[in-house]
Symmetry: none
Subunit: 223 residues, 2 copies
Amino acid sequence: MRVLVVEDDLPLRRIISKILEEEKYQVDQAENGEEGYLLATLNEYDLITLDIMLPIMDGYTVMKKLRDKGCQTPTLFLTAKDRIEDKVHGLDLGADDYIVKPFATEEFLARVRSLLRRAGKIGKEGKITYGPILLDTNQHEGFINGDALKLTIKEYELLYYLIQNKEQILTKDQFFQRVWGLESETTDAIVELYIHYLRKKLAPFNFDGVIRTVRGVGYMLKE
Amino acid sequence: MRVLVVEDDLPLRRIISKILEEEKYQVDQAENGEEGYLLATLNEYDLITLDIMLPIMDGYTVMKKLRDKGCQTPTLFLTAKDRIEDKVHGLDLGADDYIVKPFATEEFLARVRSLLRRAGKIGKEGKITYGPILLDTNQHEGFINGDALKLTIKEYELLYYLIQNKEQILTKDQFFQRVWGLESETTDAIVELYIHYLRKKLAPFNFDGVIRTVRGVGYMLKE
DNA sequence: AGGCAATCTTAGAATTTTCTTAGAAAAGCT
DNA sequence: AGCTTTTCTAAGAAAATTCTAAGATTGCCT
């Protein structure tokens, strides 16, 4: 699950990112409206948290420009206590929500989850499957017929991405960008290794074959 | 599917190429109008993305010269500002679509797909067929009655090109330029070999006959 | 029919891509 | 701090693809 955090205040941005990362969200950060807008157009996020007071371009403008472009990413606005009154009520509360700074961690996370659920990004039960493979998004764990696969975070995310795009080829680079992110020091050769790890954990159930190699292109989940 | 990206701004050119490559398009890049024009005349592309502001020769001129030569390749114009006169001018010259920078990845890809679809280069669901032969662009695989042909990339692209131009003769040189590209070290004799490989994979289904040799000219898909 | 050129076929060499292994580095936990 | 788990680096093995080369076959022309 990818989140973009647009916030100019460095300590707060770090805290928010940390909170989200601890919840296993993959976080990108922007420190002003323009950067936020750029990142949001270049990448596809599941959620954006957007400060309203921002240098260069304020949160409302970023939002408006994104919506004009057809971007429907659910957005959580952050606003200072003394400024709630103005435009907040004009928001489309179906796709958006707002939270007043300072806020409690749990409230923040609850709103994030709620937005994601409303947008259909996570199911109520938080489970996705492919054949007998089941991923529980709450536990961050995978199962086959009830047996836990004991996946690490990276393995889990790789498998998640595979299931999300079942029966479609994903390139190594796509995996890399999605699971490791652009700032990573590593090369996308790491993907091969993790595909290998995944197959190894699927092998005892005779399911290592579902991850197919498409030579010269990438990998896919099939049959 | 071959795309030519003509764009002088290096980061943007890289981003566009990357986006396209992730979608399994084969991308060539040109950094100015002259280079773009040259590449477009030397190779046969399925699509050109053409920046308007370019060094040496601007996008309009490139476009005009190509159309004058009879080149009908669908072209997507990129323009920095939403200036209506740009749009009108471009469309006058035969541009097929036009997108304003900066743009969202998905919008860009949607336009690319839509152009290719309009030009009949891809079917709606990413599948093209000839008789019982089916190519699935999502899987990069060919099928006959549901049986996979296990094509390599080169074989797939050759067959793809054949189906795209079914019942029309293509010269070895056309295959060579299209599948191997200009930078290739090989000679176009390699085409014979790959036609052979393809026939071999089609033979079990009694379909090796559909690839006909037209002596002294080339090959075609027929009956 | 014979000869010539184009095409087909085969085999294996060269290259590229992917897999596997092992261990080092980093991060997390108690 | 010390132990455990996870992540990453590196390099060689294995596998698949791509290409070279050469001889066989086919069709066309005189």
